[in-house]
């Protein structure tokens, strides 16, 4: 995926998440706020209705009490003036009836007034047919005897209306009970009062339900439901359990509503106020529409901004990428049009710097390679010149055996030797301290023996014992000789190191030389019953070398071979090999294991020191030999099988390339 798209996607997703979280939080908060507002509203309306109801009923009760006081005198007089043939003829009776009718006329809420005597019989009534009926079991009679009584909501079959009976005692001025005045209230009025809509919107309504789930008021959606319809909802259930509260549930129509219910124990009814959920949450729905719009707008705006921003960021990166691509194709761009004033601009700057450095180093490289080329050309020319010279001299001199190539090889070989020499010189220099300490040890060892034994010999106790004396003198003698050899070897080596050794080159006949070596060591070999053989090939020419030094080299090698051989032979062979003579000094002695092939040429290195001491070596012989051969521009190496024998290979040039050597040096 492209960086730009990635960046914009990230922006969009981020803003989407933030906007979503904000919207959800806001929505939850506002919906709970709205709900609590609805609860408050419903609760307050409910309380208001209860208040209305109480006030209304209390007002009517007060009315009735005033009426009772108004008629009490007439009523007492009426009771006292017995003897009338008919009650209807009693003027007090008439008075009372008039007053009741008048009041009934005045207060339309009462549809009936009636007076019950102390025995519980309807004594008088605005409805004549009621007179004489016995009411002694009625609450309004029993309770009304003592104080004002408000009955329950009821349905009256006579009027075919929901009614409520209020009763008050009729007392004389001495507070003696005379009878009970009862009034029947038309509940339609109360129903109107309750159902009257007050700040409840379109679907809001208040209703009363009695303990038998019977609706006492007309319903908004069921006119004339009062005392005809029963309601069973969550609200009525809770309310009839004597609780009050706010819930969200279904109403009698099975529609979702918010309900506030209140149990009114005085009236034994449930007062319910409700409103349809759809209406109550109308604001919230509108709010969510607005929020959706805002949300979409935010997303769109953020998307546009992020696209633009991402393009801006990626455009500089693309520029950088293109520059890098150009660079890889060899196009040098030392300017980049990036001014973002941030890390990308820094990167671009660094990139430009890098390009410049690269360009510079490329130029340097080119110039190097050019100069190198010219050097190579020059060198080639030199070589060609040299080759030409060699060619010329070859033509001119018949003696020169080697062709130009061989001369070049020689040159290289000499150069290589020079380098090896240099390395060895450095190594020697480094080992100088070590060498001195070893040398001093090697010198002091025979001196210690000599000193000690000479002291011992001068001891008269020992000096007299001739056997010991002889032995000690022998040791002293051998140690003196060893010391002498050691000193001359060390001198030899140090001369070689200091290059003060002069080589007197002459033509040496190898056959003659090696025979001399044989003759000088034959006695020693014969003593050990070892054959000493010399074989020089006929093609071997005389070689240019220092005779004395050559003698030293081969004597060293042959003496070594004899010393380390118990039986068999020691053989020296010489063969021509190109411009060299290849010598092999072969023995059938104890041999040397491979790990020591290099070490044996080191100074004072002895594979087995006890054996060496027995043989009388100094540990310098091979070092001197190698040093001499190296100086002669030759080489020496060893091959050996332990227990079978050893072969020293010596390669020496037929002609010393002294002049070239000096030139190179």
């Amino acid at each position: 995926m492209k960086l730009g798209i990635k960046l914009s996607l990230i922006f969009i997703i981020l803003s989407f998440v933030v906007a979503l979280v904000m919207s959800i939080t806001f929505f939850i908060q506002s919906s709970s706020a709205i709900e609590s507002r609805i609860e408050n509203q419903l609760e307050s309306i409910n309380l208001l209705k209860q208040n209305h109801l109480d006030t209304y009923i209390l007002g009517e009760q007060l009315d009735l009490e005033i009426l009772a006081r108004d008629i009490s005198e007439d009523y007492k007089l009426m009771l006292d003036s017995s003897g009338f043939y008919s009650m209807e003829l009693n003027p007090y009776h008439k008075n009372i009836l008039e007053k009741l009718s008048l009041h009934s006329e005045f207060d339309k809420n009462f549809i009936e007034f009636f007076i019950i005597d102390k025995q519980g019989m309807v004594f008088m009534s605005t409805i004549k047919s009621e007179v004489g009926k016995i009411k002694e079991n009625k609450d309004y009679f029993i309770k009304g005897k003592n104080s004002s009584f408000i009955g329950y909501f009821d349905y009256n079959p006579y009027f075919q209306l929901p009614t409520l009976i209020i009763s008050v005692p009729i007392k004389d001025d001495k507070e003696n009970l005379l009878g009970i005045l009862a009034g029947r209230l038309n509940l339609k009025e109360i129903s109107n009062l309750i159902t009257k809509r007050e700040g409840l919107g379109e679907t809001g309504e208040t209703l009363l339900v009695n303990e038998f789930n019977l609706v006492l008021t007309d319903l908004k959606y069921f006119p004339d439901a009062a005392f005809k319809k029963k309601i069973f909802t969550d609200a009525t259930k809770n309310c009839l359990d004597g609780k009050s509260g706010f819930i969200q549930s279904k109403d009698y129509r099975d529609v979702n509503v918010f309900v506030y219910y209140l149990w009114v124990p005085d009236r034994n009814v449930c007062l319910i106020t409700k409103i349809d959920e759809s209406e109550a949450l109308k604001d919230l729905t509108r709010l969510s529409y607005i929020m959706a719009i805002i949300f979409s707008v935010i997303i769109i705006v953020v998307s546009i901004i992020s696209l633009v921003l991402a393009k801006k960021i990626t455009s500089s990166i693309i520029k950088l990428k293109n520059a890098a691509l150009d660079l890889s194709q060899g196009k040098w761009k030392t300017r980049l049009n990036i001014h973002t004033k941030d890390e990308i601009e820094n990167l671009a700057k660094t990139f430009v710097e890098m390009t410049k450095t690269l360009k510079k180093s490329r130029k340097q490289l080119e110039s190097y390679s050019k100069s190198l080329e010219s050097k190579v050309r020059q060198r080639t020319k030199q070589f060609e010149d040299k080759a030409k010279e060699a060619e010329d001299s070859k033509k001119a001199t018949l003696n020169i055996m080697e062709d130009v190539e061989e001369t070049n090889n020689k040159l290289k070989e000499t150069e290589r030797l020079l380098r090896i020499n240099l390395r060895e010189m450095k190594k020697l220099d480094k080992q100088k301290g070590e060498f001195i300490s070893i040398t001093s040890h090697e010198l002091k060892t025979p001196i210690t023996s000599i000193k000690g034994f000479v002291q011992l010999l001068s001891d008269p106790k020992i000096g007299k014992k001739s056997q010991k004396r002889k032995k000690y003198l022998g040791i002293v003698y051998r140690e003196v000789i060893r010391l002498n050899i050691l000193i001359s070897d060390i001198l030899d080596l140090s001369r070689l190191d200091l290059k003060t050794v002069k080589f007197n080159y002459e033509k040496v006949d190898l056959k003659e030389l090696l025979d001399t070596v044989r003759k000088e060591n034959e006695l020693k070999a014969n003593k050990k019953k070892i054959q000493l053989i010399v074989e020089v090939d006929k093609t071997v020419p005389k070689i240019e070398n220092d005779r004395t030094r050559l003698l030293q080299v081969f004597t060293n090698l042959v003496v070594n071979a004899i010393n380390y051989t118990q039986k068999g032979y020691v053989k020296i062979t010489a063969n021509k090999e190109k411009s060299n003579v290849h010598f092999i000094v072969e023995d059938t002695g104890i041999g040397i294991s491979k790990q020591y092939f290099e070490k044996i040429f080191e100074r004072f290195y002895q594979v087995d020191s006890s054996l060496t001491r027995e043989i009388g070596g100094t540990g310098l012989g091979l070092a001197i030999t190698k040093e001499l051969i190296t100086k002669m521009q030759g080489s020496i190496k060893v091959e050996s099988i332990v227990g079978k024998g050893t072969k020293f290979h010596v390669l020496l040039p037929i002609k010393q390339k002294e002049d070239d050597f000096k030139k190179k040096a």
Binding site: T445, P446, T448, S449, G452, F453, Q455, K468, S609, S610
Partner: protein, 123 residues
């Protein structure tokens, strides 16, 4: 009193012969060994009162032999003196103290001086 036993370790046969002659003349028992390895081998059974150890030997130097002796719990408390050609630097002397070396006898030595020192070390 039992004879004091002295072990000589030196790769030089002549030195071994010389020193053992000197010590035996003074009435010491002498064990001679030609290399460090041989000395360590013999120390498995022998228990000398003093070891005279040559510093400069091939394969295993006197110092290495000394370190090996000090590492072994059986031999770590043995008396040791060095025979040496070299003179020690201050650092070298410190090392000798670390290895609990009693003395070092410089070659070439004076016979009487050697015996004197040995006697002193065995006190």
């Amino acid at each position: 009193m039992a004879k004091k036993k002295i072990m000589l370790v030196d790769d030089e046969q002549n030195i071994l012969e010389l020193v053992s002659e000197l010590l035996m003349n003074e009435g010491y028992d002498v064990i001679t060994t030609g290399s460090g390895r041989e000395a360590l081998e013999k120390l498995k059974t022998a228990k000398p009162d003093l070891i005279l150890l040559d510093m400069m030997m091939p394969n295993m130097s006197g110092r290495q032999v000394c370190e090996a002796i000090r590492k072994n719990s059986k031999t770590k408390n043995l008396r040791i003196a060095f025979l040496t050609v070299a003179k020690f630097s201050e650092a070298g002397k410190e090392k000798l103290n670390e290895l609990k070396v009693l003395d070092y006898i410089t070659k070439p030595f004076d016979n009487a001086d050697l015996l004197e020192r040995v006697k002193k070390m065995l006190k």
